[in-house]
């Protein structure tokens, strides 16, 4: 158990005291990428919010190394874990750079003034997610895809050891999706960043993940390497679709026509 950076034991998550998913056992070594996949409403966001300490756990525990997440103080946790969620961010009159800079919060002094070093880290994170050119734009007036990259920069400049991302690619076009993967790879190699995220794009999940967690129903449907998860027939069952439609253009088109008709 101790060689894992992130682990859960007998974790039970849900809203308002109603358990949604029970008996989750996740173990992830440092520097690995875990993707959560599953149909809409399977509880991916609930799991991510719970392990990020945003939702009360209904049972079990989450560990970073040996420390239980619920027992860590806010500042210590903030220096280890950052998040990107799907909720709309309200940021009236804040520039993109201001939004990114809020990630330095755990490192700045009482008044939150940024040192030269903080400024450099903020600029570096923005460079990495390709948002340098919109740094002075009003955050409320940029596109959803740009917002997603700004929020990723915010999470990166928090210099975390582990980052929790809820559908980080949902608004990105194909170019930025690929760049996003490259950024994660780079951070993993350079800093040993551990990543837990939910993804809708199965192909992306397959390429980038070291482990994949499939959610459906009240329990974890499957947890393993991409090879194990993407074996024939499993995805079909997970999403209740005809898996033949996932390979071959003509079949896919035929399938699209069928559900369109």
């Amino acid at each position: 158990m101790e060689q894992y950076y992130f682990s859960t034991s007998n974790l039970c998550v849900g809203y308002d005291g109603r358990p949604l998913i029970r008996e989750m056992e996740i173990a992830l070594p440092r520097g690995e990428i875990l993707s959560l996949i599953g149909p809409n409403g399977a509880g991916k966001s609930t799991v991510l919010k719970s392990i990020a300490g945003q939702l009360q756990l209904l049972g079990g525990a989450v560990y970073l190394g040996k420390d239980s997440l619920t027992e860590m103080n806010g500042k210590a946790l903030a220096r280890k874990m950052s998040v990107v969620f799907t909720e709309k961010v309200r940021a009236e009159l804040k520039s993109c750079r201001d939004v990114v800079a809020t990630g330095r919060y755990p490192y700045t002094g009482w008044f939150g003034l940024l040192s030269g070093e903080d400024q450099r880290i903020v600029d570096e994170a923005m460079e990495l997610t390709r948002v340098t050119d919109i740094r002075e734009r009003d955050f409320d007036r940029i596109s959803d895809g740009q917002k997603q990259r700004v929020m990723l920069a915010r999470a990166i400049c928090q210099e975390p050891e582990i980052v929790i991302l809820d559908e980080p690619t949902s608004y990105l076009d194909i170019k930025y999706k690929l760049e996003f993967l490259a950024v994660l790879q780079e951070l993993r190699e350079r800093r040993g960043l551990t990543v837990i995220m939910s993804l809708h794009e199965l192909e992306l999940a397959r390429i980038i993940s070291d482990r994949i967690l499939c959610l459906k129903g009240a329990y974890v449907e499957r947890y393993g390497t991409p090879e194990e998860v993407f074996e024939t027939g499993f995805i079909k069952g997970l999403f209740d679709i005809d898996e033949d439609s996932l390979s071959g253009n003509e079949r896919l088109l035929a399938y699209v026509r069928r559900i369109g008709a």
Partner: protein
């Protein structure tokens, strides 16, 4: 490499430029406070020149009445407008941040009315027994009333979605409190009514130095505490999830926000009665002037902006139809309400 260095240079310059803008805005507001403070002291039923004021204050002048007017009437009144105006604008800013609602303020959320009700109850009760009401007792009563209203607003805000509904709920609470106040006043003694009536319309007149001292201490302490909270406040502006993620103690911050905004609102009601619209309009105008929402700049700027606004409105209130004085709310509403309409019109899609 060269490219990177110019970029970095540009970025440093952008940050510097913004800071100049904030400092310039603060200086501008500071000058405004000074200017209107002096105008408020000079202008009135008797106009007094600046030179005479200096003479009077340094004791070089023999004319007893002028010194009395300055020292007992003009100066405490202007000081009260300065202190309470700033407090009111800051209370509005805190409530807007807390509820993430640009038209929140102590007046529209019924917090002022709650404080007014409590103060009216205490005044009638104590005056009826010929007990002198101290400034501290008034603040305490107003604070309890403000917290009572705030409690109701908080309970309702858990069940209500959308900024307009919250404000409607606040206005309803305000009406309930005002009705209770009317009830108390109806059954009060005649002598009390005159007293209560003047105060309940809202006015900076009739301040004593004892009042000013008390309000200065309370407002200074509350404002300092709020300023020390500017870092977590800035993180809170991004929403609960991200604030929690960077390590903000949300529960503590929320309690602080509720308590300090209530203290500040209570202070105004206790001394000047309910003053409308300053709490909404000033933070909005100041935000536009600074082009930022960073609390570390907004907190001092809101205070100064509120001071300017109230000094200006008080000047109009006492001079426009002299010798008849208008209530301060009459003037603040004329200038403040259009700002609120402007905010709402601009936001109609997001409401």
């Amino acid at each position: 490499m060269g490219q990177w260095e110019t970029d970095a240079g540009n970025r440093v310059m952008e940050v510097e430029l913004k800071r100049y803008r904030y400092v310039a805005a603060l200086l501008f507001l500071g000058m405004g406070v000074l200017l209107f403070f002096i105008l408020n002291v000079c202008i009135g039923s008797v106009d007094i020149g600046v030179a005479d004021i200096v003479k009077a204050l340094t004791g070089q002048i023999q004319e007893e009445t002028m010194a009395r007017i300055l020292w007992d009437i003009r100066l405490p009144r202007a000081a009260a407008a300065l202190i309470l105006g700033g407090a009111l604008a800051l209370a509005g800013y805190l409530l807007q941040t807390f509820f993430n609602n640009p038209i929140a303020g102590p007046f529209v959320l019924g917090i002022s009315s709650g404080a007014k009700m409590a103060v009216a109850l205490v005044m009638v009760f104590l005056m009826g027994r010929a007990v002198r009401v101290t400034s501290a007792a008034m603040i305490a009563a107003a604070f309890l009333g403000a917290m009572l209203s705030m409690g109701f607003v908080l309970l309702l805000s858990r069940r209500i979605q959308g900024m307009s509904m919250l404000v409607v709920a606040g206005v309803m609470i305000g009406y309930i409190c005002s009705a209770m106040t009317e009830l108390v006043v109806t059954f009060a003694d005649d002598a009390d009514i005159v007293n209560l009536h003047n105060w309940s319309r809202g006015s900076f007149s009739g301040m004593t130095w004892e009042n000013v001292r008390t309000m200065a201490v309370v407002v200074f302490l509350a404002c300092t505490a709020v300023f020390l909270l500017s870092k977590p406040l800035g993180a809170y502006q991004l929403g609960d999830a991200y604030a929690r993620n960077v390590g903000v103690n949300l529960r503590l911050l929320r309690i602080c926000l509720v308590v300090f905004s209530s203290v500040l609102s209570a202070c105004i009601v206790a001394f000047a009665g309910p003053v409308s619209f300053v709490g909404i309009a000033v933070p909005h105008l100041v935000r536009k002037l600074l082009c930022t929402t960073e609390p570390i700049w907004m907190i001092p700027a809101c205070f100064l902006g509120g001071s300017v606004f109230c000094l200006f409105c008080d000047l109009l209130a006492k001079t426009m139809f002299a010798p008849t004085e208008l209530s301060i709310s009459t003037v603040t509403a004329v200038f403040g309400a259009p700002v609120v309409l402007w905010i709402m019109a601009k936001r109609k899609r997001g409401a």
